[in-house]
């Protein structure tokens, strides 16, 4: 896993930055979010893919692409979380003028 992370670090970084940006926007976004049942379904799908990756269920190149996809998605999610938390902090504690 460490080897993969080091080998793909630039791609993971880009995914993380995507996430940061998306998380930053999401806090103040007024659009419609994903409905709860859909979110559950998506979470279940993600869990199934992770399980398939851990079980080495997909052979050959598709297996590698799945691993890479999960790692990038995880980076994206981490980026989103960090971005949202940072934005939330900025929104709730606006800088006080001196």
């Amino acid at each position: 896993m460490i080897f993969l992370a080091i080998f793909h670090w630039s791609w993971l970084l880009v995914a993380l930055l995507f996430g940061l940006a998306m998380g930053w926007i999401a806090v103040v976004h007024r659009g419609k979010g994903v409905s709860k049942p859909l979110a559950r379904g998506l979470a279940a799908l993600a869990a199934a893919l992770v399980a398939a990756a851990l079980a080495h269920a997909v052979p050959g190149r598709p297996g590698y692409w799945l691993d890479l996809g999960i790692m990038m998605f995880a980076s994206y999610l981490i980026g989103c979380a960090i971005g949202s938390l940072l934005r939330e902090k900025v929104v709730s504690n606006p800088a006080k003028p001196d």
Binding site: I2, F3, L4, F7, H8, W11, V14, A15, F18, G19, A21, M22, G23, I25, A26, V27, H29, G31, G33, V34, A39, H56, P59, G60, R61, P62, G63, Y64, W65, D67, L68, G69, M72, F73, Y76, L77, C80, A81, S84, L85, E88
Partner: protein, 468 residues
Amino acid sequence: MGGLVRWSSKWWPGTIPLVILWAFASWVNTAPLEAELAGRSTTALNGILLDKRKISVEGRDVTLAADAFSEEGRKGAVAAIEAVPGVRRVNDETRLVPQATPFVWSAERDVVRVTLSGSAPLPSVKGKLLEAARTDLGGVEVVDQTNLARGAPTGFEQAALLLLQQIARLRDGKVAISDGKISVAGMAQELGGREAIAAALKNLPEGFSVASNEIKAPPYIFQAYKDPVAVTLTLTGNVPDNNARRAIVAASARKFLSEKVVDNLKTSLGAPSGFTAAVIPALGALSRLSTGTLVVSDREAKISGDAFYDAAPGQIRANLIKEFPQGWQLKAEITVKPAAAPVDASICQQLFSELLAKGTIRFESGRSAIDPDSAGLLDRLVEIALRCPTADIEIVAHTDGDGETAVSPALAEKRAQAVVDYLTKAGLPGGRFTAVASNSTQAVAGNDTDTGGKAKNRRIEFVVKDKP
């Protein structure tokens, strides 16, 4: 935390570019990743002995196909690749090198090439044997058709190297190992090659034994030619060693009366057993011919030429067959020399005296038996006696001064009688000869110290008596 859940419902738009990024990353990274993992897997297998190794990578999955030389080696190779960082799964397509029963290896030589075939236990041994074959057989093409197999006997490499050295001594042939059994066959390049190979095979490693040795050597040739014109006896060909050479040259000097012995012999290994014991009597037979050739090839002696009288060819053949060591064969092609013109008694006497001046009839010391070395001289005396068929001849035996004087005349008479018997056996009528003993007072040489003198005093004289 509740905020994160609420916000996360709005993170989905970013997944669209993320999916595009992922597809792009997959497309760009697959080949470099596979190359990296293949390189690392190859490095991980360094030091692990495998044959026909093939590594292929698909994504993070490595397929290893190889022949291993032991179960531990096989498992070790798979484990080494599993331990490579980044490798997800190893498709194990390894197998053990086949077991050879029996474990057979051979090297076959024909005129232009040597072919190695059968099994070798390890790639390094295979390479070493090929290299050794090239070194030992400088200039000869070496074709390696050996496969790798398990089950080689202990000491295989050492035995195979020893055999390769032996095949260098062959003109053509085959050396082979089958488990612990060695077989060699073929034709040695040189005389002595067969013996050298047999000696080398005594140094085989423990556990190996010679099952068959069918190395042949070129024929071992010895020749002797008696030339009546040049008055020489020319010896050519091979003798086993200098002792045999000295013995043969000395025997020739004794057996041949006036012929000069020309020694063109060379010493070579590989003489058949009983060589000297066969050649010396054969030279004796040659000495009884007026002109002739002796050719010894391995254990076959061929003697051809002209004898002095009719009974001689049969006698020569019979004596030689009796004296030959076991296993030797004789081919005698002896004809009889045309009879010389008759002469009168006085010329006959002259011929006898001239001949006996050149050589003496010898006897075994203290006995009346004629020394076989004198057969050539006696046959010439027979020839002279045949030229004066009407003359009566007295065979006079002189004694030396050894022993009791009372014994000497009796022994002398017996000796004279032995000569008469020889002449009779040659086909001359016994009535023409009288055996006479003469005492030592008629010595022609001093008896005191000189052994040559004594030998002369033991002489036999032929005295021709004119018929009244």
